[in-house]
């Protein structure tokens, strides 16, 4: 697969180490609880950034702040130089797409349809042309379908398009969710625990898929608990503990930091509240 699959309108790799996403002192409070406490993060073009931390560290909440699902209590998120409005739809349009920790596919749509929904924000035929089957509708509908089929192929679900999402094996559902996110033509992909619940082989496949996505020029932020996976994959890793950045550095630096290990082993088990 070539970059053309994922970026039909741009050509080739993104250049240099331009800053794509910058989170600036993002803080999120729920009542008295500070779930995310002035977190800074930058993501550059073509980079894979890992986000780790024990349960309840605020990783998913931070994701929700990035993608506009939450309005941060303070701090701001800039994407390609402009401040993002707190609306998921605008965020997607700007070029940031995500997957969910607990898979949130549209269960009663087929795989193909799920991916086609991802194309929604990149198409624009309205009610009128849809009703009269105008030329715009025809062109877009064909393009949408073809593109969705391509993406299914890309994530390795080539022949599965006709299956209902709810009837697919777990691993395929994860892939499908990634395909759906890719359908929005993102420049940055946010993956929330893409290998949760997978066996080693599936994890390996997922890793391979993420590399392939990165190779097409996308930047990726990934939340994971599987350390081996993270350290294999990521250029940089942030470790969040109790809403604060504990450490930021290369995979090697973070891996060897004793505070990380302590945070994982010493942290009390609290129930994480993903996206309430």
């Amino acid at each position: 697969m070539s970059t053309a699959v994922l970026h039909p309108e741009t050509d080739g790799h993104a250049v240099g180490r331009e800053v794509m996403l910058r989170a600036d002192k993002v803080t999120m409070k729920f009542g008295g609880l500070t779930a995310v406490d002035s977190v800074d993060m930058t993501v550059h073009n073509g980079e894979i950034v890992g986000l780790i931390g024990p349960n309840g560290a605020g990783k998913t909440t931070f994701f929700n702040c990035l993608t506009g699902m939450y309005l941060p209590t303070s701090g701001q998120v800039t994407f390609n130089g402009s401040v993002l409005p707190p609306k998921p739809r605008e965020v997607v349009k700007a070029g940031m797409a995500r997957t969910f920790q607990n898979i949130r596919l549209f269960p009663n749509m087929t795989a193909l349809e799920n991916v086609m929904v991802g194309r929604y924000c990149r198409t624009s035929s309205g009610a009128f042309t849809s009703i009269i089957h105008g030329p715009k509708y025809r062109a877009e509908e064909i393009a949408t379908r073809e593109r969705a089929a391509e993406l299914l192929d890309f994530v390795g679900l080539g022949g599965e398009g006709g299956h209902l999402a709810r009837n697919m094996p777990y691993g395929n559902q994860r892939r499908l969710e990634i395909a759906r996110a890719l359908a929005t033509d993102p420049k940055l992909l946010l993956l929330d625990e893409p290998t949760a619940g997978m066996n080693p082989q599936e994890t390996k496949d997922a890793e391979e898929l993420i590399f392939r996505i990165r190779d097409t020029g996308l930047a990726i932020v990934v939340i994971e608990h599987d350390m081996k996976f993270i350290f294999n994959l990521c250029d940089r890793v942030l470790c969040l503990v109790r809403g604060k950045v504990l450490i930021e550095g290369t995979a090697g630096e973070v891996q060897s930091d004793p505070r990380v290990i302590e945070a994982y082993i010493g942290s009390p088990k609290t129930k994480e509240n993903p996206d309430a």
Partner: protein
Amino acid sequence: MTASATTRQRAYNVERIVGLVGGLIFAVSAFFPWAYGHEALDDMAYFGSPSPLQWFAVVMALALINCLAASLLEPTLNNSTGFLKLLGRISKRFGWIRGARALAIGMLAYAVLAILAVALELNGLVNLEMGAWVALVGAGIAFGSSMMLPTGRAPFLERIPSYPVLEIATIALLLMGMLFASAYALSQEDGGTFLMVLVFIGALAGFAIGSGFGSWVATAGRRHRTVLVSSAFLVAFLFPFTQNGSDANMSIATQVLIFAATAVGLNIVVGLAGLLDLGYIAFLGAGAFTAAVLSESAFATINWHPPFIVVMLLSGCISATLGLIIGSPTLRVSGDYLAIVTLAFGEIFRITMNNLDGSSGPNLVHGSSGIPAIPNLNFFGFDFGQSHVVAGIELGRFANYFFLMLVIMSIIILVFTRLNHSRIGRGWVAIREDERAAEAMGVNVFGLKLLAFAGGAFLAGFAGAVKAHVDVSVVPDQYVFLESAFLLAAIVLGGMGTVMGVLLGATLLKLVPEKLRFMSDYRMLIFGLLMVVMMRFRPEGIIPNQRRALEFHVDDEELVEDVEERLPYEFVEFEEVPA
């Protein structure tokens, strides 16, 4: 073969034969009188001369005999050679036992209904003749034995190769059959007769579905969708010509169409976008009041009478504006809260219309007296109030409006189905399935919800504009909560997210009470009970959108397999892209 297997085989054969005998008894009973008096049902007091209803009994019995005989002979046929073997192989594709069961249930209901009707109409069971009891016994035997038979395999008739001519001819014939069946059913003045005709049609439909013929027709219908749709409209168009110039049924048919058009509009909101609207009748009302106020009625309060096309568009726009207003809270509230908000809006509409009478508010609609004496429509000299003779058949006032509604209905159906199959329709499904995920995937959730409200309301406004002229007067009390509940019931009963379902639901809800006047006092009671029972056992309705059915049956694996095997019409077709 082991001994036990043999006995089981034999046992079932006994049941088949008993069932056959039951069918035979049922058929023969038709040639005996069922009732003592001539007034009951369609006069069943003759010996050797069956009434139409009795002939129907014969038809059902013959179909049952055919089913059981085929299933009985099938092993023999399969063991023989040549033509007989071919027959056997064709026979294997049918679900004979399922068909027989549906027929037997129908026969039993038919006989019981006949007995009840005769007893009620002639005051007492004494007035039943032996024939009716014989029919009951026959039906009972057939029912008992068919229930004891194993269902056997599912039919797979739809997988036989397609013969386009045969398929198209079948579709056309079936629809013509439906036309005559509905004309016949409607011409029945007697409530009992009407019900029995319905049972007969239902039993035949059950037989068709059970034996596999139904799914063959469905597949054929999918292959030749244009033929199906256009012949359906043709049949609807021909319907007034079957009425011999009488307007009595046309009045009901027109109201059914208006009701159905509104319900299809509501189905956009409920069935497609998955939002509940309990105040939908207000949109129909808004359309009707707009048309009334702008009509040339002496009671109209606005002295501007544009042509009807303009009025219709204006009605649609005003309803759509109301839809936008009612839809706007969807940004903030959802689910049950939204239902309550819409209900409150509906009540506000009704009370406001009542108050716009010059004393509690500006005099726009004369308050609770409403606007009467709305003149008939007149298109380029074609007066909708006059009868016209076409091909020797007189078409009355309601027939004229029926044709107009048919045009509007086709527009509404077009809007509904095309939207459903577009990017917008996919957006609605996504919102229904997981609103937050849809939002996170860039779907304009609020915009699409508003579109559903406004679009549905626009169509209802259209229908309302015609309704004002059909009804001649527009009164606020026509637009109460109960009517909204009825609209919703049409969808729930007929099927969420399908046009056919809503048409069926609307027809049943409007027609049955008209025909069954003798039980009209219990109409609402039955309506309430029906809602509860439907939600318990078939929440997706009689003819559901398959995706809606999936949503209502979270754990039904069989249904999932079924859907995946042949992706129904409402799904995007998937063909494998060559790598």
